[in-house]
Homo-oligomer: 439 residues x 2
């Protein structure tokens, strides 16, 4: 039986998951692939950690260069994470003609262009299914299943930590801080949760997806990012009264000559499937010009769901080797290199969408008229208003839903309204996404 | 630029969709594939029909043998449908060394073994992504994305016609007949709807999925099939009162040495994602030992969603040809030939599940005790009982939900109960699926 030899660098959570699948499901993989996917070497700086795996003698080593420089190794799996050592390792592996599998979305979002160029020049594959959406096959679906479609939009929940926190605020009425503490206690959030809760992890993923879907280069800094740390039970409660659920959405739309790419808390209609995606799960709606709306749903993180995606990449590359396929059978970035364009990303001030506003206003006659007067002056028309109860420090919440308006105008109007004597605190703004697939 | 030459046989609804994607999205396909996917010939018995396409001269022909025998054609796309001509065409194409793409689930469910064997022997690929789930990439997900997983179960809505009808009964309180008539008026159901509404189309699809997921041969006749024509607004209404939605589910479970494979109307808990899949859409939940539960969702039929899946197959095969890959890069049936087993399918009488019963009983003391006495004798324990209102002809509906029970015992008990003087009409039974993923 033929053998494909794999070297794994970094045996932390996901790396351990990959090793376990390759070892525990070895006979299943043989039955499917018709070859032995051999885990030849595993490099990690911590040789003593108990990973629940009994490696054969000589498999677990300390020095990654013994993998990268081993001429017998076909595929190098980078599971180190971070931007430094992982970058150097992948470049070294490419230089030595190895195919590489990674799940490192931060690295790809920041240094993707350099790494893909190096792989392309050397004629090796750099596979990254596990970098976005865990076990959901988002990369494969965009590059292969939807190859005949012009992708029109992608809207999704791509960070399980944020979705867990928002679910807890919604279901249990917790504050953000309480829900975050619970997520940390359950191992669903890091000690420093900034990357997740401020939306940056989601932005890394949307950068990769937009590049693949639209055939464009994406600058991370062009993506508007707003996290969930400002979300309160009060706003979630109002959202529910209007028939919405609050989710941290990654939103990307293709207008042909420009795209939208933004991450922010969003009110989603309750009859939309995304509003029913709860807990630490991910989901992505993709709209293609031929398929209409489709959706993928599954665990977007965690040892095994992510490791499963890594293994699918390993097998894809193994199948290329076994079938005699030349590398780059599928272009890594979904489009041929000479067809990848620079496309402008619409600045957040220029988007048009629906809005939810919450003002903290003095409970006296004429306030509503003053507020709506300013909104009217900026061309923002109101769909419904809600004003009642819960007086705090003499103020009442005034909640409004707007028709489609330009963000720039909204920001100007809210700044004017926030400066009024009759309005306390800073006005709250949550964008509404009405255009996702209704059931 | 390299060229892959495609011959399309059968230019009906889906065939026309395939032609349109290849022609209308030609430049998009070039940008992604790096080659020209050339629609060289289209054969159809009706040359005069207006398909909204302007074929180049000589492309549209009457005689399919001009495609099958053309040495320049690389890939033959079978869009004839049915079991006769389609079977002969595919065999002839294979004999001539062509790779074949089909969406013909009925053909594969009945003659799949013969066709796959012929393709294997000749060393060509027979691709069939569009045969199940329309635009949802179910075949690719099972064969590639979940390759490292032991598949534990698949539960899904695989027939858009049935789901549309059930949605209408649920939302509008229509009878089955009314909802069917509406589906027919909207082109969502055939004039003879038997294949769809009696569950056979769903069974064809589940046969294919079970084979791919578990590495087994499936006899269509081993799959228990029960359609939706007996579903009434009354039962759907009771289901709602208990917190359930009624769906026609394809249910397949892998117990290692045996499998379950069955199609029947099923009560699904309302907090399950499948219960929120409405209208003519499909969805499939797949549970893998590594990924846990994941779900695919999208249009399972219709010209363009199905054609999109056919095009993804064409491109997969084109990429094999362009990259110099040997055929059968991925085993057609997901497992290597020598690893495909015969696995027994559990007879429906031997399954254990939860049940909903509705009895039409005389409104007099002691009836409930008689009914539950018989159930108890057969070891069927009741979780809740509902008895009220709606007297018709002196009878009232008595509704019960059972704990897990064996179907054989349930059938015996219901037959005894149905024969009682105090019980009119035939008792109604709907199976309940509690084991699908909860949110």
């Amino acid at each position: 039986m033929k053998s494909i030899r794999v070297g794994l660098v970094g045996c932390g959570t996901v790396g351990t998951g990959v090793a376990r699948i390759l070892l525990e499901n070895e006979s299943l993989l043989k039955a499917r692939v018709g070859a032995d996917i051999q885990l030849r070497r595993v490099a990690d700086i911590d040789l003593k950690k108990n990973r629940g795996i009994r490696f054969d003698k000589g498999v677990l080593i300390e020095d990654a260069s013994e993998i990268v420089d081993d001429p017998d190794i076909d595929i190098v799996v980078e599971m180190i994470g971070g931007l430094g050592a992982a970058y150097d390792l992948i470049l070294a592996a490419i230089k030595n003609g190895k195919h590489v599998v990674t799940a490192n979305k931060a690295l790809l979002a920041v240094h993707g262009n350099a790494l893909f160029s190096a792989a392309f020049k050397k004629g090796v594959d750099l596979a990254f299914e596990a970098s976005v959406g865990g076990c959901m096959p988002v990369i494969k679906t965009l590059r292969e299943s939807l190859v005949g479609n012009r992708i029109e939009s992608m809207i999704g929940i791509l960070n399980g930590t944020c979705n867990y926190i928002l679910t807890q605020i919604t279901r249990e009425g917790m504050t953000f801080k309480e829900a975050l503490a619970q997520a940390q206690a359950q191992g669903l959030a890091e000690a420093d949760p900034t990357l997740d809760v401020e939306g940056h992890d989601t932005a890394h993923k949307l950068a990769i997806l937009s590049a693949l879907a639209y055939g464009m280069t994406v600058n991370l800094k062009d993506i508007y990012v707003e996290g969930i740390s400002g979300i309160t039970p009060l706003d979630i409660d109002f959202a529910r009264q209007f028939g919405y659920t609050v989710k941290l959405l990654a939103i990307s739309k293709n207008f042909g000559n420009r795209v939208e790419a933004r991450i922010h808390p969003t009110m989603v209609p309750e009859n939309n499937l995304l509003s029913g995606v709860n807990g630490s799960v991910n989901a992505l709606t993709i709209t293609g010009d031929r398929v209409g709306d489709m959706m993928l749903y599954g665990y977007g993180a965690g040892m095994m769901p992510t490791a499963s995606a890594v293994v699918s990449d390993i097998v894809d590359l193994a199948r290329n080797l076994l079938s005699g396929s030349r590398p780059l059978r599928i272009p890594m970035m979904s489009y041929q290199k000479n067809h990848i364009r620079k496309l402008p990303v619409v600045p957040i001030g220029d988007i048009y969408t629906h809005y939810y506003f919450r003002f903290s206003a003095l409970d006296q006659p004429g306030v509503l008229s003053k507020i709506s007067g300013v909104l009217g002056k900026y061309g923002i028309s109101i769909q419904s208003v809600h004003q009642k109860g819960r007086k705090t420090n003499g103020s009442v919440p005034v909640v409004m839903l707007s028709h489609k308006a330009r963000e720039k105008d909204v920001v100007s109007a809210l700044s004017k309204i926030g400066a009024m004597d009759v309005v306390g605190a800073k006005p709250i703004l949550i964008r509404i996404e009405e255009e996702v697939q209704q059931q």
